[in-house]
Subunit: 440 residues, 2 copies
C-alpha cells in the first residue's frame, strides 16, 4: 500500500456481476450445498405440541395443517399416535385431508409404536432414539447394539408397508461419533429415506454442525434431515450451515414453538434463506402468508409475536437513526437485506424522535404535501429534535410541529418570512436569529 493512502478505483458492480451472481448465495467451495435445494419439515403439530402453552383441538390442528400446506411446506410432522387416543384420531383426520404436503408422524424406535403409526394413513414415519450417553443412561437405558437391532426391525417393518422412513438419533451432538456413524451406516444400507441429526438440547454451534453433516454425508447415501433447538440462540444459523454442508431437510415450527424455547422458526429461516437463494425461496413458498401463519399459531398458543421476530416483528422494517433514514430514502438496499414487499409488508421510516434527521423530515413534509425549502426543513427538524429531547414524540406531534411551522412562515400578513429564512444563518438551536430576536 502506498504511503499517501491512494486506493485504486474499482468498478465494483461490474466486477462483481461478472464473477458471482449473488454474493450471499451458496459458497462455491461447498459443492454438496443444498442451500438452493432444501425442503421443510414443519413440526408445529408435533414439536410445537410440546410447547408449554400448546393445546390444539382437532379443528385447530386441521386449520394449521391447511395453512402450512398452502404456504408450501414439503412435510407436516404430527404427534405420535400412541401419545393419546385423540392424537391418533387427529393424525388419521389430517391424513384424510388430501394435502399436497406429505404427512409424517414421529415415534419412538419401538415396534409397538410403529404398528400403530403405519395404520394411521401417514406418508412416512419419523423414528427417533437417544444415542448420547445421557439419554442411554437416564432415558431408555439401552446400549448401541439394542438400538441398532430395534432400528433395523422398525425400519424394515415400515418399509414393508411402502411408506417413507426416517431414522434419527436424538441428542446427536453429545453422542459418540463412532457410534453415530456406525448406526447411520447401518440404517442407510438397509435403505431409509432420510437420516436425522438432532441437536436436542440446543448446544451445537455452526462449525460443529458443518463438520458433522459433512462427515455424515460421506457415510450415508440418503438425504440428511436436521433438527435444531434454540436454547443458545443458534438454531437458524445451524440450519443454514447444515444446508451448506449438504443436509437437505430442516425441521421448523411456526414461531419456532417447541420444548423449552423451541426450534428453528419457519419465518426466521425464510429470512435467512431468501438472502442466499432468492429465486428458489420465492418460487417455492408463499412468503406473504408468513404473517398470517404466525398470527394463527400465536393466537392458538396464546403468545405474542416477539417484538424482535425476523420479518414480522413490529419494527423489523423500521428505520430510525437520521443517517439510516437518509440512506434508506435514497436506496432501501443500503440498510435492508430483506425487501418487506417480498413478505407483503412495508418499510417504515421512524421520524418522530430526537435521532431524526432532516432527510426523514423532508420525506414527511412531502407526504403531508407541504412546500418547504431545504433550509426551512432543517429549521423545523431542529425544532423536532429539541422537542424529542424533552419527551417521546408520536407522529401527530411531529405533524403538528411541521404544520404550525408551515402556517407560521406562510401566514404573517405580507411579510416575506419564507425568503428571509432562506437567507438567514441558523443559530445552534436551529432557529433563525431574527425569529429569536422577535421572541425576546
Amino acid at each position: 500500500m502506498s504511503n499517501n493512502f491512494e486506493f485504486e478505483k474499482v468498478h465494483e458492480s461490474e466486477a462483481l456481476a461478472k464473477h458471482q451472481v449473488n454474493p450471499y448465495g451458496p459458497n462455491p467451495s461447498d459443492f454438496l450445498s443444498n442451500v438452493n435445494n432444501f425442503q421443510l419439515i414443519d413440526s408445529t403439530l408435533r414439536e410445537g405440541e410440546q410447547f408449554a402453552n400448546s393445546f390444539f383441538s382437532t379443528e385447530k390442528k386441521i386449520e394449521i395443517a391447511k395453512a402450512l400446506d398452502d404456504f408450501g411446506v414439503d412435510y407436516i410432522e404430527l404427534t405420535s399416535p400412541v401419545a393419546s387416543e385423540q392424537s391418533r384420531k387427529d393424525c388419521e383426520a389430517i391424513c384424510k385431508l388430501g394435502l399436497k404436503a406429505k404427512i409424517l408422524t414421529h415415534i419412538r424406535c419401538h415396534m409397538d409404536d410403529a404398528k400403530v403409526a403405519v395404520e394411521t394413513g401417514v406418508d412416512g414415519v419419523d423414528v427417533v432414539i437417544g444415542t448420547s450417553k445421557f439419554l442411554r443412561q437416564y432415558s431408555h437405558g439401552k446400549d448401541m447394539n439394542y438400538i441398532a437391532k430395534s432400528a433395523i426391525e422398525v425400519i424394515e417393518f415400515v418399509k414393508s408397508k411402502g411408506i417413507e422412513i426416517r431414522f434419527s438419533s436424538e441428542d446427536s451432538f453429545r453422542s459418540d461419533l463412532v457410534d453415530l456413524l456406525n448406526i447411520y451406516k447401518t440404517v442407510s444400507k438397509i435403505g431409509v429415506n432420510r437420516v436425522g441429526i438432532a441437536d436436542t438440547v440446543g448446544c451445537a454451534n455452526p462449525r460443529q454442525v458443518y463438520e458433522l453433516v459433512r462427515t455424515l454425508k460421506s457415510v450415508v447415501n440418503c438425504d440428511i434431515e436436521c433438527h435444531f433447538h434454540n436454547d443458545t440462540g443458534c438454531a437458524i444459523a445451524n440450519a443454514y450451515t447444515a444446508l451448506e454442508a449438504g443436509a437437505r431437510l430442516i425441521d421448523v415450527c411456526v414461531l419456532g414453538i417447541g420444548e423449552r424455547n423451541g426450534i428453528v422458526p419457519i419465518g426466521g429461516l425464510m429470512a435467512r434463506m431468501i438472502v442466499a437463494a432468492p429465486e428458489y425461496v420465492k418460487s417455492k413458498y408463499k412468503l406473504h402468508k408468513i404473517r398470517d401463519l404466525e398470527v394463527l399459531v400465536a393466537d392458538a398458543v396464546q403468545v405474542n409475536i416477539p417484538f424482535n421476530n425476523p420479518i414480522t416483528g413490529f419494527c423489523a422494517f423500521t428505520h430510525k437513526a437520521g443517517i439510516h433514514a437518509k440512506a434508506i430514502l435514497a436506496n432501501p438496499s443500503t440498510y435492508e437485506i430483506l425487501d418487506p414487499h417480498d413478505f407483503g409488508l412495508k418499510r417504515y421510516i421512524h421520524f418522530a424522535n430526537r435521532l431524526t434527521g432532516w432527510n426523514a423530515i423532508k420525506s414527511r413534509v412531502d407526504q403531508l404535501n407541504l412546500n418547504l425549502t431545504d433550509p426551512q426543513i432543517k429549521e423545523v427538524t431542529a425544532k423536532i429534535k429539541k422537542m424529542g429531547d424533552i419527551r417521546p414524540l408520536n407522529i401527530d406531534d411531529v405533524d403538528s410541529i411541521i404544520k404550525d411551522f408551515h402556517i407560521e412562515i406562510n401566514t404573517p400578513a405580507l411579510t416575506p418570512r419564507k425568503t428571509k429564512a432562506d437567507e438567514e444563518p441558523l443559530d445552534l438551536a436551529g432557529e433563525p436569529a431574527a425569529k429569536k430576536a422577535k421572541k425576546e
Copy 2:
C-alpha cells in the same frame, strides 16, 4: 462394521475426560480463539436508542448504565453527543458516574463529531464509516481515499487526547475485501485500540464471518470488535463464530434492541458462551442479574420479553413431553445444556397435558406428599391424559384428579381397593377392568 451389528462398548465418560475437559469448549484447532477471553461492549444506550420504541430519560439512562456495570459489561457505548443537545448532556452525566465499565461514544468519522466527543469525558471513541458501495453511493458519497484521510485525521486527534479509539467500517460484509483490508491495515499501523467489523444489514452467515475475521486477524495487530444485526436470525451464532476466529469484543444490547429487529442480545450470547466457556463466563458476569436487566429495559421501551427468549423466556426451562420429563427427573443434563440455577432461575416439569407421562405424574404425587404405587400412578396418568385430550389442563385440574383418585382408592369402607388395583391388569384406557365393570 460386523454384520451382526455388534458395537464395541466404550467407557465414554473416562475416555472423554482424558482427552478434552469440555467438549463444547473452544475448538483446539482455533488457536486464535477468544471464546475463553472475550469482552462485551453494551450498546443499549446507543444502538438500543435507535430501537423504534426507545425514549430514554436521563434518569433511565443512568439506571440502565448502573445495571449494566453491575452485571459486568466491559464497555458501555452511548449515543453520539452531536445527535442532540440532551444526548451530549447525558453522555457527560454517565461519564461522571465513576463506573467500572469504560464509557464510549459512537460518532461518524468526522472531525466535527470527534471534537465534541473528546470533551464529554468518555474513555474512548468509536468511529464508524460506511465502506460498502451502497453506503458510499447513497449515504455519505465519499470514496475510499476520502475515508482513509478522514479516518487518519480523526484517529490521530482522538489518540492525542489520550483516550481509546476504535475504527469500524459499516456494512463490512458488502464492502470490497481489498478496500477493507487496506483501510484496516492503515488504521492499525497508526495505532487504533480496536478495529470493528459491522454486519449492518444482518446478511452475514457464520462461515463468512469466520473467514473475514480470520483474514483480518492476519492484517491488523489490534483487537477486533464485531457488531452483528439479527435480520436473518444469525447474530448470536455469528458472534460466537467471530470469537472462534479471533475477534475479542462483541457488541450487545439488552434484549438485542436496536435498528429494525436489533443486534446480538446480551442474554442470548450469555446462553451461548456459558456452554463454551462456563468458568470464564460465571466468574466475569453476574448471570443471575440477566432477568432484572431485561425487565428494566423491556419496561423502559414498552415491550414484552419474547416468549421464546433464551434463558428468560417463560418456558426456557419447561419440559413437557413425557419422555423428556422422565429423563429430566432422572438427570437434568439429559435435556438441558443450560442449568437454570446459574441464572437464578428454576426448571419446571409441565405435567398437566395429554403428552404427560407417568414419571412426571409420579413426581407430582410425591410433591403432593401422597402415597401411590407405580401401577396406581400409571392408572391416574391414563385418566389425566384422557382429560388432556378433551381440554387444556392446569395444575389444579391435575391435582384434583390425583387427589380424587387417592381418596377413592383409600376411603371405601374396608375394601382393599389399593391391593386389588396393584394386581389387576390395566385395559387400554388405563382403567382396571374391575372398576370399569363397576361403572357399567
